[in-house]
Amino acid sequence: MSRAGHARIGWEVVVGIETHVQLSTASKMFSGASTAFGAAPNVNACAVDLALPGVLPVPNRGAIERALAFGLAIGGTINRESVFARKNYFYPDLPKGYQISQYERPIVTGGALSIASDDGERSIRLTRAHLEEDAGKSLHEGLPQEAEAAVGRDGSGIDLNRAGTPLLEIVSEPDLRSAAEAAAYARRLHAFVTWIGICDGNLQEGSFRCDANVSVRREGAPLGTRCEIKNLNSFRFLELAIDYEARRQIELIEDGGSVRQETRLYDAGRNETRPMRSKEDAQDYRYFPDPDLPPLAIDEDWIERVRTSLPELPDAVRARLVTEHGITHYDAQQLTASRELAEYYERAAAALPAHDAAGFKLVANWVLGEFSAARNRDDVPIERAPVAPALLADILRHVTDGTISVSAAKTLFNEMWNAALRGATAGNVIGIVSGLVETGSATASTSSSVDAMIESLGLRQVSDVGELEALVDAVIAAQSAVVAEFRGGREKAFNALVGQVMKASRGKANPGRVSALLKAKLERSG
């Protein structure tokens, strides 16, 4: 699983991840301004975000609830009293001259996240999760025209739309042992926070950003000096950056040097990390409790309300799919990559007429196979997939009852997918298609549309003994040489005969029945 470059014999890589998860609230952490992405600069910045003299922060209950949801879902401890603290430093995109964060007393401590590893699931411990506000953005190039007119071409602009956006900073213990594991952790955490609905998970818009603390040590030795790689907003870059950094540190030590504790930046273009600032010039942030905000008190009622609003968690769904549906552990992991995918699977499985292991396995294969392939190809979100779960179940029911073959089902699936997709994109949703995109209660109409489609595409499998016998007889008569070969002991010739029958039926013959008939006839007449 690892890109073995750094995994040199005798060395161990140790990684801890800090993740800034942007919470999916409509307004900011301490003000009523909108958190919408992509507005014109400073449009979503109110007096509080601008830090005008005299303004005060008020915590956003929605953000607190999302932090509670995370803490409960991750199995952490909700601290009944946590404290907002000020982190003081000067920077133009930090309007107050301090960031409100949590320092000594975060809202959540502990908890663990399981990740997929070579030997099944592995538990990664979390240190803490705390609430804080984001900073704004400094723009050094690409300023809007009027801004550039005001500050000149060398001037910088400040956009405070992001200032005050609620973040949950989630800190892992240094439990990760490779770049690949770190990436697996980040992916699983990303799936987890979107699963419980506290983050939109949009990596491009910066809703999920990772910092990696990387150190190396000889096996069995105490922890080495770590470097922090800042602001990794893709899983691939996270993995590449850690890989590079671990290799750099190992080479440094093997060459007789030692690692300096510092903050580094990853340059994706060159695939390397570069120093940003060392520990010596690290700032003294002069943290202290924010006197504008009383300690954040969380009572039992609030915790219970949040607990009951939580969805079934991915670990529980995985376990249930394995034990109750007989799905393999690997498939269960894949199916729970997102809550939407898991729900799609579950709805399709529920719509099957018979709830047995073979049926679940069939649905799982199709969801992870044909469905995911089509979705990736056309880049459509699961909740707007052209083939709804009930429809997929309906298609598969026609496979299990022998109406169509598996290959015909694939043709059917793609025809229906494409028809609905075209209809949807053309904005011209015709009758049959609207039946296809309906979900749940539309079983009757999907069913009739599936049957109609099977007929119109001529996909119905021929299982009628009389029809098949005629085909088999014709092939035996026409292929006497092959029949002779079979009778001479060449088993493979049998398959060639089956193929001929299938061909004669233009693929519509039920292959199982053809085999049985052919075998019986050859034996009988032999």
Partner: protein, 492 residues
Amino acid sequence: MTEPFTVAGLAAALHARRISSVEATQESLARIEAAQPALNAFVTIDHEGALAAARAADVTLARGAAPPLAGVPLAHKDVLMTAGLPTTCASRMLADYVAPYDAHVVARLRDAGTTLVGKTNMDEFAMGSSNENSHFGPVGNPWNAARIPGGSSGGSAAAVAARLVPAATGTDTGGSVRQPAAMCGVTGIKPTYGLCSRYGLVAFASSFDTPGVLAQNAEDCALVLDAMAGHDARDATSVDRAPADFTRLLRRGAGARPLAGLRIGLPREYFDAGVAPDVAKAVEAALAELRALGGETVAIELPTVGHAIPVYYVLAPAEASSNLSRFDGVRYGHRAAAYADLDDLYCRTRAEGFGPEVKRRILIGTYVLSRGYYDAYYLKAQQVRRLISQDFAHALARCDVIAGPTTPAAAFALGTRVADPLAMYLGDIFTVAANLTGLPAISIPCGFDADGLPIGMQLQGRHFDEATLLDAAHRFQRATDWHRLVPSGYGR
């Protein structure tokens, strides 16, 4: 105009339509202008806005059902945001700053009908006890213009003492309402922390800052406080509780011994050495008066209160150092004309924009929060703050109010302590504890020293028990005349 120039007097006359708000406001504006050369009590005088508000108030009054303070002229300390009017904090940093919004207490007093005549001078960012730290120059004490008026709400205290306005807002972080009230011979109340919203009060030390009132007497303080107090969802430290209606409580009838049953705690620590003899004498006489009104004095102890000054001068600067970081020249306020880079922009802007006392406190605050010093200073001070609060809680279980002098001495001469900040800080010895504990406190005039300068007595009470303080002060003022005396040259 022959109506008494008090809040209660004017409000009654305005509602009875014996005078108009335009008349009252014009008188206020004229007195402000006349006194400005000698006192410098105002930073901004808003003739136009005040008269417009007065005309509007007269319309409302004519229609009847006007709010209680309709048409009463009022001044705000220049640390409270007033939409459309400059709010300078008496600093070069904000010399040209015009706020886009009203502070919560400003909005509430506007809603109560007051007409804003101007913004009063103060120590820069409310840091000081003499009003000498103002970018717009010092304020004179109406009783003797060569003396300080006290600070930091010096302009508000001088304006009320000289009868320029019937009342003014102040803010009290370590005594900034009570100390100038005492030194100018007016009544000043610092309510419980959380009773009045801090939204729109430019923060000096957030866990101490408290909007308050300066007026001629306790009844006027109650009237203004009733209008100011109230929950504000924009201030997370604002307390959501039912309004008290202090005015109604004061106006109920009382017998010959109206303070019967009131236990007045006298902490040994407040009457030891260090208090000027004239001050001690005046306070003793006031206590005798309180006893005559039915009060009973009991000896109490506040063993940790001696640490209040060092604790305050660690914690308040710590908060200030962070609160004042937003004045960086980037978004508003003063910005250095020329700078080499970002750090240079910060350094020059702040070096030019802040005065020496503000810089001193930013430096102290930065120091006590720094890595390696935090535990020894900030954390230790927080621990002692808790101990002081416990002392007061114990004491207030044995008595209803704690009495003592507001300041160790009357107003000193302008310029005499500028070079000795420590001596200046020690003058806050009796006032800072109410800010460390959040307790309400009031200062009332109780005499004069040999130089003819006013002396104040302070009463401190339980959390949200302003009613008891105001009642005791009001009964005292019904029986005494100290609060009615007007500095010579400022009579009407």
